[in-house]
């Protein structure tokens, strides 16, 4: 094995890139042969480059194959031949062959043992034109003009001289023929020597060219190739910086030295920006996955004798590289499924009054920190009744449960393991493994899959995935004096236990603890027991809250001793030695520098045997659950905290809205107070209580907006950045992640707001605010 030198390496990287582009061009060419000129020129150029370089590097087999391909391409480009399905197939096979050899070169340094004589023969056969070629001489000249144009989208020098009226087109053609015959000089050079133009003309034309060039050369000059490992390293370092920043922020309080405070503020901002910047470098457009699809779809459609047109929207939507890798296979599977099972044959389509050509649409777009991907076809759709029968036949779901299911729930049956509706098994899909694997893979990266379908009209698969995996929001809890992080994606809600009832309302079903949550029995898993074998105490000083989690369509309640805050955590892998612990998916470093384990909710559920039994029940429950969580319309006061966060406070709890001049705020002990209606009213800065990141107002406002309410007969003022609106709306609570003082988040007027838990907030903040004052007096 020989050491690859830089030239070969560069050649490989470049060729792989070019080949991907080439593949796309070929498929596009077949579909729209009309505007083929440019695409053909590009294809030709790529193959030509590969041929040239491998000749130079001494890869003779590669050269001979590409040579025949190049010949074929040149005929296509000259219009001697026209693009047909056969030709495209042969050319795609050529791409495969080149790729195979390149891979072999990459791994062994040799071209590999593959025999490509059949391919060469096929390409040569296709080379034979069906009619006599036009005069060869002229063709050669055209070719070189074309090539030159292709290399620089700017007009070639000859063309410019013609435009400038310095020479005639015939003269240029003659010169080009000279070049073709082996004259190494430039077009301008020859023309000047022949005395047809003066050197100044050439200079002028060159200037015109130069002006036009940066548009194309620009991008290449401003980008560089970077090793992914280098980016990973950077990302790790930034993760550490974020942690160090968090640690420093803990030491900063109101009494800290002002210079240190501003410096920390600056560090905070720069770190956040750096983090965003580095994350951006790891982003790749989704097109890196999608670009392979036209080829996949074409080959597949051809083999099932279907016709499918693909449309892609949002190709430049960016995702973290690791996520791109993770969704590659699931997406390919879905696309193949859509072509194989979704789209009908042209005859069936025509019979149904549809155009014979099927239509597949891929869409990607950003939405609220997530990327949405939709894959829709206009095929036969999925018949929920058929799914029902199938599920029953296979005994996956009981008849009673099926009867209760909505159409939507029936459709999601296809994500169950062992479910396949294809009438026959094809070599593409329909082996009964598939959609469940797709779902597992996507859920593994914290995403969700959803399906909707209309019989006869088509199917849409909707995928929602996070932008990045490296840093995720998580709820931090504690049990057995250790902290654990629970990824926010698996978190449904937090339920405060009814401590009036014995055992906090947890009941026993023959040894299995359950909790009645809105009429349904929620299985309970005790984290302390699962991890340390010690049952948690329930009651005043023990567990008081149930963390409701979702694992694989199944809900369960987790008992933890303490609930801390939600935090953005940097996910780090566990060492190889601990990979087999299914209860943990990784570890992270907390603000105080200590390590905390990240709980693998699915693993934990499996350990506690919550998952894997009566699966169907939870499916039936979902619809009901959604109905119940939709609350009655209520008047809400919308307030803004910081620059972006919007919070909602139930209006019935609000006494008045006031504006307080900043200079009337006085201090009593550690708290800010203001004289209000002959009373001393404590002021609570909502941002300090509920915000994850305290954003200092750049300019302190002269007048504070204060929401006044009554707490145990005393007026309390809640300082907000701005009062936004009052709305009457039924809030559908989406996530119920609970931070102190926050009930959860919901959508109000199309905007995500967080619901303030005013009583909870008071309990947390006020005892301190009230008791602080006397302490200050003593001091």
């Amino acid at each position: 094995m020989t050491e690859l030198d830089d030239v070969v390496k560069e050649f490989l990287v470049e060729s792989h890139e070019n080949l991907s582009a080439l593949e796309q061009d070929l498929v596009r060419l077949e579909q729209t042969p009309d505007d083929s000129k440019e695409a053909l020129a590009r294809i030709f150029r790529t193959v030509h480059t590969v041929k040239g370089t491998c000749g130079f590097l001494g890869f003779s087999k590669l050269e001979s194959v590409t040579h025949v391909g190049e010949n074929l391409l040149s005929k296509l480009r000259d219009g001697v031949l026209h693009v047909t399905g056969d030709i495209t197939s042969a050319l795609l096979a050529l791409v495969d062959a080149i790729r195979e050899m390149l891979t072999s070169v990459e791994t062994t340094g040799e071209e590999g043992p593959g025999d490509y004589s059949a391919l060469i023969a096929e390409l040569t056969r296709l080379l034979e034109p069906k009619q006599a070629p036009p005069k060869p001489q002229l063709r050669a000249a055209d070719a070189s003009v074309e090539v030159e144009r292709a290399e620089a989208p700017v007009a070639p020098i000859g063309e410019l001289l013609v435009q400038a009226g310095r020479v005639t087109r015939e003269e240029v053609k003659e010169v080009l023929e000279l070049q073709q015959a082996g004259d190494p000089r430039h077009v301008g050079e020859i023309l000047v020597e022949q005395g047809r133009i003066v050197p100044e003309d050439v200079v002028d034309a060159l200037n015109v060219q130069k002006k036009a060039k940066p548009q194309t050369g620009g991008l290449a000059d401003t980008t560089i190739r970077v090793e992914v490992s280098q980016l990973d390293k950077l990302m790790n370092l930034v993760g550490e910086l974020v942690l160090a920043r968090n640690q420093i922020l803990q030491f900063i309080g109101p009494d800290t030295d002002a210079v240190l405070q501003t410096t920390t503020q600056r560090l905070n901002l720069v770190t956040t920006e750096l983090q965003e910047g580095v994350m951006k470098t790891r982003m790749q457009p989704i097109d890196t996955v999608w670009s392979k699809f036209p080829r996949v779809i074409r080959d597949l459609a051809r083999s099932c004798r279907k016709r499918v047109r693909v449309e892609m929207e949002g190709r430049d939507t960016e995702l973290d590289k690791t996520i791109i890798e993770a969704i590659k296979d699931p997406l390919t599977h879905i696309v193949r499924n859509a072509v194989d099972h979704g789209v009908e044959s042209p005859e069936e389509r025509e019979a149904a009054g549809k155009p014979p050509e099927g239509f597949l649409r891929l869409q990607a777009f950003h939405e609220g920190g997530h990327v949405n991907i939709e894959i829709s076809d206009d095929g036969g759709g999925i018949d929920p009744e058929k799914l029902k029968r199938k599920a029953q036949e296979k005994g996956l779901v009981s008849a009673a449960a099926l009867a209760r299911m909505s159409e939507r729930e029936l459709l999601s049956l296809i994500f169950m393991p062992g479910f396949s509706t294809a009438k026959e098994v094809t070599n593409v899909s329909g082996r009964g493994v598939g959609m469940d694997v797709v779902k597992t893979n996507i859920e593994r990266i914290g995403g969700t899959v959803d399906i909707s379908s209309r019989i006869g009209a088509g199917t849409t698969i909707h995928i929602k995935i996070p932008l990045t995996l490296a840093i995720i929001p998580a709820l931090v809890v504690a049990s057995g004096h250790e902290r654990f992080a629970i990824p926010q994606v698996s978190l449904l809600e937090l339920v405060r236990m009814d401590l009036e009832k014995p055992n906090g309302g947890i009941e026993d079903v023959s040894g299995v603890p359950v909790y009645r949550l809105r009429g349904n029995l929620l299985p309970i898993v005790d984290l302390g027991f699962e991890l340390f074998g010690k049952k948690s105490n329930i009651g005043e000083n023990g567990v008081a809250t149930i963390v409701v989690l979702q694992a694989d369509e199944r809900q369960f309640g987790l008992l933890v001793e303490e609930i801390h805050d939600t935090e953005e955590i940097v996910v780090k892998p566990l060492g190889k030695q601990l990979k087999n612990l299914s209860a943990f998916s990784g570890a992270t470093i907390m603000g105080d520098g200590r390590v905390a384990l990240i709980l693998d909710v699915l693993g934990l559920a499996q350990m506690a045997r919550v998952v894997g039994t009566t699966r169907d029940r939870s499916l039936g429950d979902r619809g009901k659950h959604a109905q119940e969580s939709a609350e009655k319309p209520e008047s809400l006061l919308l307030v803004r905290v910081g620059t972006r966060q919007t919070l909602a406070i139930p209006l019935r709890l609000v006494a008045r809205l006031e504006e307080v001049a900043l200079d009337s705020v006085e201090r009593a002990g550690a708290s800010n107070v203001v004289q209000y209606r002959g009373q001393i009213m404590p002021l609570i800065h909502l941002s300090e209580v509920v915000s994850e990141i305290v954003e200092a107002d750049l300019v302190a406002p002269e007048v504070l907006s204060v929401v006044v309410f009554d707490h145990l007969g005393q007026s309390v003022g809640l300082v907000v950045s701005a009062i936004v609106d009052i709305v009457d709306e039924a809030v559908k609570r989406h996530s119920t992640a609970k931070r102190p003082g926050i009930l959860g988040s919901g959508v109000v007027q199309g905007q995500v707001v967080e619901l303030v838990d005013l009583p909870g907030l008071m309990q947390r903040v006020l005892p301190r605010a009230v008791s602080d004052a006397p302490a200050a007096l003593v001091a």
């Binding site: 370092l237 550490e240 057995g480 250790e482 190889k576 612990l581 570890a587 200590r594 390590v595 384990l597």
Partner: protein, 149 residues
Amino acid sequence: MLTENQYCTFTLGPFMFGVGVREVQEVIRYQEMTRVPLAPRTVGGLINLRGQIVVAVDLRERLGLPARDSTVLPMNVVVCSDDGAVSLLVDEIGDVIEVSPSEFEAAPDTLTGTARDLITGVYKLEGKLLLVLDVNKTATTELEIAKVA
């Protein structure tokens, strides 16, 4: 100076152990550890090594020695194993010493149990013995076995 014959030494109870200097990444004082529930007993916990999360192997447990007195805080000898950095929890750190190959002798046949697998040999120093540990085996083997169980 040849580093091959240099050993970073540390003690566990009455015994002096050594690992090759080139296998040692660093030696650090006691670090707060995070327990890993459900992990084999040989896993002492996880430590934060400048942002890298490293498994700390409880070497006493690993070698079948009695547990450390809870008032003594273990030190960390961070070694580079085939699976990356792993910290070995030891009682006290000793010097880096140079030995001569002539002092070496293979572990006695009467040595049994896990120690047999981990101790590659003994250097007969003046007044004491230096037990040489196989870093890779010490850092991984038993944990791998635990996976099967």
